[in-house]
């Protein structure tokens, strides 16, 4: 029999026993709904975790350091201190080269330096300053921001870590007190101005030409940020640059309550500048002190780079490419692998629990079709008498099972979608009561809709195998005799 005739006859037979088939379809629907709701929850949680982790910037980031800088520090002169053929400085050309690698979104230098801050005439406070690229805005570090993120990559603005803000306000003295929270007082800082005093790295020629130094307002009091702070004589004239103290007035744009130890590429920093602006300060970086390297050039070496890749899947390949360029890399790729494994297991278990209801529904299909065979015994005999083969009869019952599965699958997906919405709404109600932001815990991707319907059809057909085989085996003479 042709497939079209088969489906037409199957649909017709199902229409004839409306109530029983509707109940069976409902059973399949409930099974599919439970499966869809469970998997949608698993997928939703996975996506939520994925989004959170992606926003943490930890799993798509590679830290790059130079092999060479470490050698320079570890080994004495005359030994194997010379850079190997493969090693190279982590400077701007290297950064640009890394940024061009396939899969790399950005490669930004980790600019961090020690400075002093004066605010409203209070004593200077020492602070670690870090430069932040514009992409930092999208990380969760700045989810809870009092004020606004930098207005431009070169704005003369700062973001303060809340503990440091408290110190500026004189509220607390212990910088390791993690109980600091954004409050009305910290809000008063926004829009105010502070003065940043730092050690500027000036090339020897410029320094000599400018002597006595006049490259900005000289620092007045307080402790110098490092031994390099006194303006003259230059600390490293031999190496071709001088270190001079410099001050810069900056506007406070925002206060963040993020743990300073958790910030990507800026661990330990309590004051943040836009990266471009931080670069323009030419502040002396810790790596810059290693000026005794013979090939020191005017292009300063970065202590490290943060390389962000398009997705965690690309991390391994990009890491490999960077290592081949002669740099050290570090990422926490293994953690994402564990996470994926965890969610795979979670989805599996949720799927198994969801499938239990579908398995029960499959028994309903077996029951419905076996009953149909008993009822339609004579009809099967008639069909065989007028030319139906065993295969035709078998296919007809399988098609009926498939139609039941298809209808149940569509119904189930719709029910599962509604169930998921309800779970989401309930969970968000709970979260809101806990003063937590709403989350999308549930997600029904297209493949789940298609997969669930297909699975329902498949399970129904498997359930229909026995009744179909039984119907096909019926002896036509016996069947025709049946009253």
């Amino acid at each position: 029999m042709k497939t079209g005739d088969l489906v037409e006859l199957a649909a017709r037979n199902i229409r004839e026993s409306v109530l029983r088939n509707a109940l069976t379809t409902l059973g399949v629907g409930v099974g599919v709904a439970s499966l869809v709701a469970m998997l949608a929850l698993g997928i939703g949680l996975q996506q939520l975790a994925g989004r959170r982790l992606a926003r943490s910037g930890l799993f798509d980031t590679i830290a790059v350091t130079s092999r060479r800088s470490l050698r320079g520090f570890d080994r004495g002169p005359g030994g194997e201190a010379g850079p190997s053929a493969e090693s190279r400085p982590l400077d701007e050309p290297a950064r640009l080269e890394i940024a061009q690698l396939p899969g790399v979104l950005e490669a930004v230098p980790d600019l961090r330096f020690l400075a002093e801050v004066r605010y409203e005439g209070k004593p200077h406070l020492a602070v670690v300053v870090a430069g932040l690229p514009p992409s930092a805005r999208d990380t969760d570090a700045f989810d809870n921001l009092q004020g606004r993120f930098f207005s431009s990559p070169a704005a003369a603005e700062v973001i303060l870590q809340v503990q440091f803000a408290d110190e500026l306000l004189g509220v607390r003295e212990r910088p390791d007190d993690s109980s600091a929270k954004l409050n009305v007082q910290t809000a008063t800082l926004i829009g105010k101005e502070l003065t940043l005093r730092y050690a500027e790295r000036v090339s020897a020629e410029v320094a000599a030409a400018a002597a006595p130094p006049a490259s900005g307002k000289r620092g007045g009091g307080g402790n110098p940020p490092s031994a390099a702070a006194p303006p003259a004589p230059p600390l490293s004239a031999m190496a071709g640059f001088s270190v001079v103290p410099h001050e810069r007035a900056l506007r406070i744009a925002a206060v963040t309550d993020h743990d300073p130890e958790g910030l990507r590429g800026a661990a330990g920093a309590r004051l943040f500048l836009p990266l471009q602006m931080a670069e323009s300060l030419h502040a002396l970086l810790p790596a810059g002190l290693r000026a005794s390297e013979p090939d020191f050039s005017n292009s300063p070496a970065y202590p490290s780079l943060s390389v962000r890749v398009k997705s965690p899947n690309r991390v391994e390949a990009v890491e490999e490419a960077i290592r081949k360029m002669g740099f050290r890399t570090y990422s926490i790729l293994d953690a994402t692998r564990s996470l994926r494994r965890f969610f795979a297991v979670l989805d599996l278990f949720l799927g198994i629990f969801g499938s239990l209801a579908l398995a029960v529904a499959a028994l309903g299909i077996v029951n419905t079709l076996v009953m149909a065979i008993l009822e339609r015994r004579r009809e099967i005999g008639i069909m065989k008498a007028v030319g139906a083969s065993d295969g035709d009869v078998k296919m007809l019952f399988l098609a009926e099972a498939a139609v039941l599965g298809l209808l149940g699958g569509v119904l189930g997906v719709a029910m599962g979608w509604v169930m998921g919405r309800l779970i989401n709404a309930g969970a968000n109600l709970f979260l809101r009561r806990q003063n937590l932001p709403a989350e999308k815990l549930w997600s029904v991707p297209g493949w789940l809709v298609g997969g669930a319907i297909l699975f329902a059809v498949l399970v129904s057909m498997i359930a229909g195998l026995y009744p179909a085989a039984r119907a096909a085996r019926l002896d036509p003479v016996e069947a025709l005799r049946y009253e």
Binding site: M1, K2, G4, D5, L9, R12, N13, E16, R378, E379, G381, I382, M383, K384, A385, V386, G387, A388, S389, D390, D392, D475, P476, V477, L480
Partner: protein
């Protein structure tokens, strides 16, 4: 358009010592016990006998609905006993039409759908299928009842619809198992008139199982009497 034309040996039936025995525990029931018959193409034969004589069992063997436990059933030169299930199925689909005492129409289908059913299994195109089914129903005078379900028809109309279904595949052999058994005498005569018309007009071989001797003598060309699975008498119906 249904066209049935007379043809040579198509529709001839030969049974050679055919047996159909059923084992019921220790005992064996010999429903058909060594019957040898020769039915020529276009012949109208009536199988007569009391209940349990083996006439319906023999008809089922000729129809290819059942397999003999011994002997041979040869239709159009092919031995049904040696056919595979698929071959038997094709034989039932294309070479033989059957009419039953209980009409055996499918109650959930309309008359048109019932008549179309054999054509569905024969994989006839939808358009051609409907035309053939309508023509078959027109031949039996049911063109105005095509969309009715069997339960909405009288017994005679149901049997005529069953005849249309048997006819629609243009078989050379028509087997009728007590076709008048559930009908009043007047309607029964109508049905047998129809059968004889087809037999004469199209040369269709007709095997009629009945226990109504008077009807058999009135319409059949040959009477075969059965008892206990054996042929007890076989002679021409000269009064026909």
């Amino acid at each position: 358009m249904v066209t049935l034309e007379k043809s040579g040996s198509a529709g001839s039936v030969r049974t050679e010592a055919v047996c159909r025995h059923f084992r019921m525990g220790e005992s064996v029931i010999r429903a058909v016990d060594g019957i040898s018959l020769q039915i020529g193409a276009g012949e109208f034969v009536a199988l007569l006998g009391s209940s349990g004589s083996g006439k319906s069992s023999l008809l089922n063997l000729i129809a290819g609905l059942d397999r003999p436990t011994g002997g041979a059933v040869v239709v159009n030169g092919a031995n049904l006993a040696e056919m595979s299930s698929a071959e038997l199925c094709r034989y039932r689909r294309h070479s033989v039409g059957m009419v039953f005492q209980a009409f055996n129409l499918i109650g959930r289908m309309t008359l048109l759908e019932n008549v179309e059913l054999p054509l569905r299994f024969a994989e006839t195109e939808r358009g051609g299928r409907q035309a053939l089914a309508r023509e078959a129903l027109r031949r039996v005078g049911l063109e105005s009842r095509m969309t009715h379900r069997p339960s909405q028809l009288s017994g005679g109309e149901q049997q005529r619809a069953a005849l249309a279904r048997a006819l629609v595949n243009r078989p050379r052999l028509l087997l009728a198992d007590e076709p008048t058994g559930n009908l009043d005498s007047h309607t029964g005569i109508e049905i047998l008139e129809l059968l004889r018309e087809w037999n004469e007009q199209f040369g269709m071989t007709l095997v009629l199982v009945t226990h109504e001797r008077a009807l058999a003598e009135r319409y059949a060309q040959r009477l075969v009497f059965l008892a206990d699975g054996k042929v007890t008498a076989d002679h021409g119906n000269f009064g026909c």
